[in-house]
């Protein structure tokens, strides 16, 4: 990279990069249609997206891994259709990603520093994993530096930071009770740059790509909800788009794994499904190259896009959410109390408002379920 000069001026546009990699015009248009659908836009927007990607330069992207399990990286790379992988990797110019980059050690660090220095304020930073704050942040170090220091520098100089997955969003599993390392999400330690949160364990790559394509097409980041998550991906309740919803409405429930209801694809509500409390586009975006999703495969939703889900959505196989300390048989009132305690623990007021809203809805559904059960 040249000193102080943005070499991306001479770099190919998204479309040129795709064509150079052998992606056909037809596949490109299919991708644009997928993006229009992901962004909850009418199909007529696909040509507008195509037009934008024909002109847009690929944004530089760095991917930081902190207290993570690499699950979001897997989600990012594991599309079974090579064309989709090509498209994603070509739309995004990934300049630093420890799991997939060739350089190691000091050379790797140089790649990151080059982007921060030469692309200041122009690159997108994706963060995967939580940031430990206890004991000076020693619980996650890269190149001898604490994660929190790296985050402040790299996120702080970015155009926008995308917190990919539950851990980067609100601390996720490392921050689950008793949070041994004082883990927090990006939003808790970074300010001054736009942060887009992509909750979920893991987040879906279409929502990451959708966020970037939205920026390239409209010149702005997507509208977000009170969790800072894009409305296009997190505005719909899983329960409302669920393929098993008709069974819920008709009172046909799975009561035991492998029973007649389970074999017939009935509603998993009584098996602990958190779909009625969770907002994410899993039923429509799907997983594994759009083949299926947990509920489609016969397992209940574990509510992974909900705030502090490792504590608020467990036990996963119990119908009522309970907070550690209250036991499996917690009542809804106790859960409400638990959420009040979570407020004191530093969960944002917005998350609580939303959790409260869900809590009320949950009670309604409980009633409905009981009525239908009779």
């Amino acid at each position: 990279m040249g000193e102080g000069k943005d070499l991306r001026d001479s770099s190919p546009t998204v479309y040129q990069a795709l064509r150079q990699r052998g992606v056909s015009r037809r596949d490109f248009m299919k991708f644009c249609s997928l993006m229009a659908a992901t962004l909850a836009l009418p199909a007529s927007f696909a040509p507008k997206i195509a037009e934008a990607l024909e002109k847009a330069k690929r944004p530089s992207l760095v991917w930081l891994e902190f207290q993570d399990c690499c699950g979001n990286t897997e989600s990012f790379l594991r599309a079974s259709n090579p064309t989709v992988v090509d498209i994603v990797l070509d739309v995004l110019s990934v300049d630093y990603h420890e799991t997939i980059m060739a350089p190691a050690g000091k050379d790797a660090e140089k790649s990151l520093q080059d982007v921060v220095k030469n692309q200041k304020g122009k690159y997108i930073c994706v963060v995967e994993g939580a940031i430990p704050t206890r004991d000076g942040g020693v619980y996650c170090c890269v190149g001898g530096r604490a994660a929190i220091d790296i985050a402040k520098e790299v996120c702080g100089n970015s155009l926008a930071t995308i917190a990919m997955g539950a851990c980067a969003w609100d601390g996720g599993i490392p921050s689950a009770n008793p949070n041994p390392t004082g883990a927090v999400g990006v939003k808790d330690v970074i300010s001054g740059v736009p942060i887009i949160n992509l909750p979920g364990c893991p987040a879906n790559v279409v929502n990451l790509t959708g966020t970037v394509v939205h920026y390239l097409t409209f010149g702005s980041l997507p509208l977000t909800d009170n969790n800072g998550a894009p409305l296009f991906g997190y505005g719909t309740r899983i329960h409302d788009a669920c393929q098993r919803r008709a069974h819920y409405d008709a009172g046909r429930y799975v009561r035991q794994w492998g029973d007649e209801g389970h074999r017939n694809g009935w509603c998993l509500y009584y098996m602990g499904c958190k779909g009625p409390e969770t907002y994410k586009n899993c039923p429509t975006a799907l997983w594994n190259d759009r083949t299926s999703w947990p509920v489609g495969a016969g397992h209940n939703c574990i509510g992974c896009a909900s705030p502090k889900f490792w504590d608020t959505m467990t036990p996963f196989y119990s119908r009522l959410a309970s907070i550690p300390g209250f036991g499996v048989e917690s009542t809804a009132d106790k859960v409400g109390l638990g959420l009040a305690i979570a407020t004191a623990a530093g969960v944002t007021a917005h998350a609580i408002a939303r959790a409260g809203r869900k809590h009320i809805r949950h009670e309604d559904e409980e009633k409905t379920a009981k009525t239908e059960d009779k």
């Binding site: 990286t73 890269v142 190149g143």
Partner: protein
């Protein structure tokens, strides 16, 4: 003897640092350390055992 450090080690899943003591172009001694800790074992304590797979899977 000069000591070299490779951190981060890339193209792996997780965080790794390798230090090596080199003498005349030969590695005489080496140390590998994992530079990230979350305490999943501590987090798993006192939870519903049916949930353990989901926690442990995230290691």
């Amino acid at each position: 003897m000069p000591k070299i450090a490779i951190d981060p080690v890339t193209r792996i899943e997780g965080h790794l640092r390798v230090e090596a003591q080199v003498d005349g172009g030969q590695v005489k001694d080496a140390w590998a350390s994992s530079t990230m800790f979350r305490g999943i074992e501590l987090i798993l304590k006192n939870r519903d055992p049916r949930d353990a797979w989901a926690f442990a899977q995230r290691i």
